[in-house]
């Protein structure tokens, strides 16, 4: 992760190279956020483009108040996903109810799972936004707890708890997805 503050200031002043650098820095992260939220990698490409168009249009309104720039982009991306569902008149995936999540599962449940992008893509939309972001940021993007906490505006202790719940919810969703897969 780069400290994008200087880049953002330059971009806000109209520096094309700074805007291009922001795109290079964040487009893949935004893409993965959207792809795992809607479960459609191709559609995620389109929506990612919309997010960055929206970014340059609203760049002047962005103020750095300690929250990372990526968190601001995730808000735009989240709105873009909601707009997509609204336009398509589709219902977003319902997160798994907390009571359905087994926090002490049999390790055998997941050891035989060969996790693929397709399986992960199918399961991730069933997590809450915070759970999904913890999985994404910590295990896929490789951020540490303090960085994840800053993006989620949580404490590091809360991120640790959320991490466990996110893993449990993901495991549950994967198992359920597997059960629905045709033999």
């Amino acid at each position: 992760m780069v400290d994008g503050n200087r880049l953002i200031e330059q971009a806000q002043k109209g520096d094309r190279r700074a805007v291009a650098a922001l795109y290079d820095e964040y487009q893949a992260l935004v893409y993965r956020y959207i792809a795992y939220r809607i479960g459609d990698p191709s559609l995620a490409e389109d929506l990612t483009a919309d997010v960055f168009v929206s970014m340059v249009r609203n760049l002047g309104q962005y103020e750095h108040r300690g929250r990372p720039f990526l968190a601001w982009l995730y808000v735009i991306a989240g709105n873009s996903c909601k707009m997509y569902y609204r336009r398509q008149k589709l219902a977003e995936f319902e997160p798994l109810p907390e009571e359905m999540i087994d926090h002490e599962p049999n390790p055998e449940d997941v050891t035989h799972l060969r996790l693929t992008h397709e399986r992960l893509m199918a399961a991730m939309p069933r997590l809450t936004d915070n759970q999904r972001q913890v999985i994404l940021l910590k295990f896929i993007e490789g951020l540490n707890n303090s960085e994840v906490a800053a993006i989620l505006e949580r404490t590091e202790g809360a991120v640790r708890v959320l991490q466990h719940r996110a893993l449990a919810a993901l495991r549950q969703a994967l198992v359920e997805e597997e059960q629905h897969e045709p033999a």
Partner: protein, 402 residues
């Protein structure tokens, strides 16, 4: 051990697995939580080994272009606001199609609307300076007609018409200077009549044997002229339509106090004739003395004539015959009688229709229009009566083009 300890242990183990340590080593270090840890750490290991999901290079490039287009547009506020949207829409056409057919149809329709709007604006702008004979001239005229039709306020509409009439005359002068042989049409007030040379709002008009004149023409009258611009820049009149009575200084053309008659148009009252047959009046310089059918009629407030069919001999007497000769000598127009003449016209018309077979055949020049209720007679008769009637209706009076 309390729950936070488990979360801390899990976090520590996750970090160790991320750094490449074996899962079994972590579980061995924390046998109390090995069951829970095993499940979470197995999934962690699976997630960590998963390769990064990446967008296609084409999508990355498309997204970059769209973003930069939006960025450039936002940097320059003077740029057309819709440009970004247009380019974005066009670029989006190359993106992956949406699953629903309706979405695609809507997208194409939106693009078509945007393109049409852009092209329409361009064509309208380009047609602003078009002259008669230009390809875009019909576009210009259509746009003007639409503006007039869409203007609700009477005074604004009148102002718009006046503006367009002046524009027509300016266009005629322009094509005359260019010596472009085209047919033009304009409206104006007759300023002078000198044998074959008339002056209409500053434009010199040549009257030929083929010129058709509808209505009675005299100085001060509004006319609509259709003319051919010749190769030498002169203007040969093809057709002249008289709209109203002469505009005489000091007089006002007001509406009649009583509603005007709404008698039916007279069949066969074709006043179009060849100018060559017009008797001229050397003393006044006018080519046609104007009979004033109502000059002797009392100007009292007369109610709207009822269709009783009662003949009025005086009116019959004033009906001219087809060869242009009136059964009585035409009376020169009296300035002070302008209003009263307008008032009494409909009655004369109706009477003439019912009582004089000759009149119904061809009452040249003086056949007063009953009302403006029939559009079919607009070319045939254009007399002060029609003007008065429109005024009484509260609508614009005498600038209606043919």
């Amino acid at each position: 051990m309390s729950q936070p300890d488990f979360f801390t242990i899990l976090d520590e183990c996750v970090s160790r697995v991320r750094q490449g340590e074996l899962l079994e080593d972590c579980l061995a270090d924390h046998p109390t939580y090995s069951a829970e840890l095993a499940s979470d750490l197995t999934l962690t290991a699976e997630l960590l080994h998963l390769s990064q999901l990446e967008p296609s290079p084409r999508a990355v490039e498309n997204g970059y272009q769209m973003m930069m287009t939006a960025f450039d547009a936002s940097k320059n506020p003077s740029q057309i606001a819709g440009l970004t949207g247009i380019i974005g829409t066009l670029l989006s056409a190359f993106r992956r199609p949406q699953p629903k057919l309706a979405t695609n149809v809507l997208r194409i329709a939106a693009m078509a609307v945007v393109l049409l709007a852009v092209m329409g604006t361009f064509v309208l702008t380009a047609s602003a300076d078009a002259l008669p004979g230009d390809v875009l001239y019909p576009v210009k005229r259509s746009w003007e007609n639409a503006r007039v039709a869409l203007t609700m306020d009477d005074s604004s509409r009148q102002a718009l018409r006046s503006e367009y009439e002046k524009r027509r005359r300016d266009e005629v002068q322009a094509v005359q200077e260019l010596r472009r042989p085209v047919v033009v049409e304009f409206s104006g007030v007759v300023e002078s009549i000198d044998n074959e040379m008339w002056q209409v709002d500053g434009l010199a008009l040549t009257i030929t044997d083929d010129t058709q004149v509808s209505g009675l023409v005299s100085i001060g009258q509004r006319v609509t002229v259709r003319a051919q611009v010749m190769n030498d820049g002169t203007l040969n009149a093809l057709r002249i339509v008289v709209h109203s009575s002469p505009i005489v200084p000091g007089t006002t053309r007001s509406a009649t106090r009583q509603p005007t008659a709404t008698a039916q148009p007279v069949q066969g009252t074709n006043v179009t004739r060849n100018i060559g047959a017009t008797p001229s009046s050397p003393s006044t310089g006018q080519t046609r003395p104007e009979p004033t059918p109502a000059v002797s009629r009392p100007t009292t407030d007369r109610p709207t004539p009822e269709s009783t069919g009662t003949p009025t001999p005086s009116a019959v007497d004033r009906v001219p015959t087809v060869d242009g000769n009136s059964t009585r000598e035409p009376q020169p127009t009296s300035t002070k009688d302008t209003d009263s003449r307008l008032t009494s016209m409909p009655l004369a018309t109706e009477t003439q229709t019912k009582t004089s077979p000759t009149a119904t055949r061809a009452p040249v020049d003086v056949a007063p229009t009953p009302t403006a209720t029939s559009t079919s007679t607009r070319d045939k008769v254009a007399t002060p009566t029609a003007t008065a009637t429109r005024n009484a209706d509260g609508r614009d009076s005498n600038d209606r083009p043919p």
